[in-house]
């Protein structure tokens, strides 16, 4: 594991570096938070051991910056400090630190705390496995290209925009955005239960077939709910269930499977719905050519308050250029599926 050690006192950083290298880690060093942040931005390091008091940017400011920035990975932060009273522990953990080591430290304490961090970081690899499973489920539907990558990117863009709104800033937190990004690929996992003759039909569906395909929401949600029964506190499973079950609901209550309306529909599902519909609009289907970005935007805005939550459409209109940018970038890899 590559570990970034941040300390303006070389006696301390040398000691930590030597111990970590002795334990088989590779170590890079920085002498203040800003220098560390630059290393994190430009590299792939996922664990930081940082002093608290440093010039330019201190350890607490570094924690806040890491949690605010979109580094595309979780960075585990251990604060190495003599500030270990309760007030400081609360301050440090609130700023985004994961753990503390008090000075002077012992090599064994440092080693076990790094090992705890490694276990936590290993959980992130489960997200990759989840995404792989979602992609497997999606692979039967050969028209969707990089649909999963696009919709999770769109969802994150929308959520970040919504987080700027006073009404949502306390709900759409960084962890909400991270969860949305992780869980949105599971939205169509229930399609594994849809027979080939419906899912792969190269034509418009009949009313009866459409009724069959609508069951994918319930089947996907059932999968998540069986796991939720075992782990009812698992926010990940709850949001995955909400999105899988209700991403075809409409704001006016005319959607499926439950006909929920307005705020009865979970926010995660409402955000995801806009992302999913945008992607469907600009993508080629067997029954339609892709719409342009401009046409897709007009369609989404025309459904403000009917199909979609007005707040989310407003957020979409503010950040639609970012949607276009994602669409353009991903289209380069799969040129036949979407339209600029």
């Amino acid at each position: 594991m590559e570990i970034l050690v941040v300390d303006d006192e070389f006696v301390c950083s040398d000691l930590v570096k030597e111990i970590l290298e002795d334990r088989g880690h590779s170590v890079i060093t920085a002498t203040n938070g800003l220098e560390a942040l630059e290393i994190l931005r430009n590299g792939s390091c996922r664990m930081v051991i940082s002093d608290w008091e440093m010039p330019v940017m201190n350890g607490l400011e570094l924690c806040r910056a890491v949690r605010t920035e979109d580094l595309q990975r979780y960075v585990y932060i251990v604060l190495l400090t003599s500030r270990t009273n309760t007030d400081n522990l609360v301050k440090g953990l609130s700023a985004g630190a994961d753990d503390f080591i008090s000075k002077p430290f012992e090599p064994e304490e440092l080693t076990v705390k790094v090992n705890v961090g490694l276990r936590v970081l290993a959980l992130e690899t489960r997200n990759l496995a989840i995404f792989a499973l979602a992609r497997l489920a999606e692979s039967r539907d050969n028209e969707t290209g990089r649909h999963l990558e696009r919709v999770r990117a769109y969802s994150r863009i929308l959520a970040k925009e919504l987080a700027q709104d006073d009404k949502y800033k306390d709900i759409v937190t960084n962890s909400f955005i991270a969860l949305l990004y992780q869980t949105s690929p599971l939205h169509d996992i229930g399609k594994v239960a849809i027979p080939d003759y419906v899912l792969l039909k190269p034509d418009r569906l009949s009313d009866g077939e459409f009724e069959v395909i609508k069951t994918h929401c319930i089947r996907g949600a059932e999968t998540m709910e069986s796991a939720l029964e075992q782990y009812p506190e698992a926010g990940f499973l709850r949001m995955a269930r909400d999105i899988a079950k209700w991403h075809h609901e409409r704001f006016d209550g005319t959607g499926y499977p439950d006909g929920l309306k307005g705020d009865e529909i979970p926010l995660s599902a409402k955000i995801f719905t806009v992302a999913d519909v945008y992607d469907a609009l600009v993508s080629r289907r067997i029954y339609k050519e892709p719409f342009t970005h401009v046409v897709a935007c007009n369609i989404i805005m025309s459904e403000r308050g009917t199909q979609f939550d007005p707040d989310i459409v407003d957020a979409f209109s503010r950040c639609q250029l970012l949607f276009q940018s994602v669409q353009n970038n991903m289209q380069k890899a799969t040129p036949d599926t979407t339209c600029v």
């Binding site: 006696v11 040398d14 000691l15 030597e18 002093d51 400090t81 003599s82 000075k103 002077p104 012992e106």
Partner: protein, 148 residues
């Protein structure tokens, strides 16, 4: 000299405490708790020497800075430097020096004579550390030369 667990004069400190004739004297209260420092350095005397060498390289600047801050009467800078010195002292297991730095950190709030008194103690403890480390590293070097 072997890198690890060797028996030069540095290693002798771990076994003999302060009364041995081949090490700097430290009185009742050791200037540096050598055994603790050696443990922190995973039993590697080479690492002990490296860390103490780093201390000698970097601490003079910190001492200059804290003296300047006391002259300027900058309480936040005195506190921050006292805190930084405390951390370094703790890591080399220099308990008296660490306590003096902590006193400095607290004295920064009250200012005036408290700061001057704390600075005086800090400088004394720092000088004791420097002397101890200097003798320790010199002895180690002599032992290495003889061995070669």
């Amino acid at each position: 000299m072997n890198a690890d667990h060797d028996s030069d004069s540095v290693q002798n400190h771990a076994a003999g405490g302060t009364a041995s004739s081949d090490m700097p004297s430290g009185g009742q209260d050791p200037i540096i708790n050598y055994q603790e420092l050696l443990n922190r350095c995973m039993g590697k005397t080479e690492l002990v020497k490296k860390i103490l060498g780093r201390f000698q390289e970097t601490m003079p600047l910190r001492i200059e800075e804290i003296q300047a801050s006391c002259t300027q009467g900058d309480p936040e800078q005195i506190r921050a430097l006292g805190h930084a010195i405390k951390g370094v002292a703790a890591n080399i297991s220099a308990e008296s020096f660490r306590a003096a730095a902590e006193r400095m950190e607290h004295a920064a709030k009250s200012g005036g004579q408290d700061v001057q008194n704390a600075l005086s103690v800090l400088l004394d403890e720092y000088n004791r550390c420097v002397q101890y480390i200097g003798e320790l590293l010199n002895q180690s070097q002599e032992t290495e030369t003889l061995a070669n």
